[in-house]
């Protein structure tokens, strides 16, 4: 899922200068699972914004809502029901949701309430770790299912580098060296010999270097 975390309150309050009627939009997708922008977080942020505005002596009316998904045209159209009732929209969705809402409302200020950080998973309660970089050219079949693009600090294709120490990365002793894990795993799977093959220089054109990426499935379009 997409991992996000709420922006600092002062940054959000600075965005809302002069805003008197706000539509605060959560998302019931990934940001609900990672506790950054679901219904509960909407309730909390709305309260904090009202308190912050009250402290500044400025009134604000906030409509609180959480859409099924903000990354889907089918669901974002539902904000029509609040037309005329707000001056700005603060989205607690990931960057995808913010873009979708901004596309939908070309003349309304749309602000982000969270920082979108990574594609990851929940390792422990309250701990999320990056696992995928969305590079558009998956090589997990060659690396034992472990991604060096997302999980190696240098995104090396032929690791580990000289900074790998006792299975840890030189950038931080708490960060595992994913290439050490790849080696260990492939040997466990009796595929250690595959590591002798040199991976070629990577073509990054699928990773966004050719502009925004677009996926079209002709079998699904109508």
């Amino acid at each position: 899922m997409i991992i996000a975390e709420r922006k600092p309150i002062d940054e959000i309050m600075a965005m809302l200068q002069g805003v008197k009627r706000l539509l605060l939009l959560g998302c019931k997708g990934c940001v609900t699972v990672c506790s950054a922008g679901g219904e509960r977080e909407v309730e909390i942020l709305a309260s904090l914004i009202r308190l912050g505005k009250k402290k500044e002596g400025q009134p604000i009316e906030i409509i609180e809502a959480a859409l099924t998904r903000q990354c889907d045209q089918e669901y974002i159209d539902s904000i029509d029901q609040w037309d005329g009732q707000y001056d700005a929209i603060l989205s607690m969705a990931c960057g995808v949701g913010v873009n979708f809402i901004a596309n939908l409302r070309p003349v309304t200020p749309v602000f982000p309430a969270v920082n979108t950080t990574s594609f990851g998973g929940s390792q422990l309660q309250g701990v999320w770790t990056e696992q995928c970089a969305g590079c558009g050219n998956c090589i997990l079949h060659l690396t034992g299912g472990l991604c060096p693009v997302a999980r190696c600090a240098k995104s090396l294709m032929n690791g580990p580098c000289g900074g790998s120490q006792d299975g840890k990365c030189e950038i931080n002793p708490e960060v595992p060296c994913i290439w050490q894990h790849i080696h260990d795993r492939l040997h466990r799977l009796n595929k250690g010999e595959s590591l002798t093959a040199i991976m070629p220089i990577r073509d990054w054109s699928t990773a966004g270097h050719g502009g925004p990426r677009k996926t079209v499935r002709d079998d699904l379009t109508v």
Binding site: P8, I9, D10, M13, R40, E43, I44, S47, L48, R50, L51, G52, K53, K54, K55, G57, Q58, P59
Partner: protein
């Protein structure tokens, strides 16, 4: 001497407050429980939401505190630990808003310690009187 009487909200664990509440409002007042502290008993402080604590400030509280079981003796295993984390989240949020984080506090008290329960309320009353009127009470323009 200021005539400011703070509005203080206390969210308290059912078990931790049992002995004090058994004394009744008059009994507690007789022992010095401040009249300006409003008690809200919880089945477990772990059930408290961050938004509930913030709502107390929105509702006009100058100070808020939570009284739960000792961290390792919660009747519901981790309830008071969860409450402490939520109080910490509100403290951080208050700080971000430029408000004294001391306006909210978490206390862990043994069950049945009646004088300590009263003393906690009195300490919080003293603290909030020193901090003065809460910043969320200003008239909006």
């Amino acid at each position: 001497m200021s005539d400011f009487t703070p509005d203080i909200r206390a969210f308290v664990c059912h078990y931790t407050s049992q002995q004090s509440c058994a004394a009744g409002a008059e009994g507690m007042a007789a022992e010095g429980f401040p009249a300006n502290v409003r008690l809200a008993r919880q089945v477990c402080t772990g059930k408290l939401k961050v938004s509930t604590l913030l709502a107390a400030f929105e509702d006009g509280a100058d100070g808020v505190y939570v009284v739960g079981c000792p961290a390792d003796q919660c009747h519901n295993a981790m309830g008071s630990q969860r409450a402490a984390k939520r109080v910490l989240a509100v403290r951080k949020a208050l700080q971000e808003l430029g408000v004294e984080p001391e306006r909210i506090e978490m206390f862990h008290l043994e069950r049945g310690l009646h004088p300590e329960f009263i003393a906690t309320a009195r300490n919080m009353d003293t603290r909030i009187r020193a901090l003065g009127v809460g910043p969320f009470k200003g008239e909006t323009a």
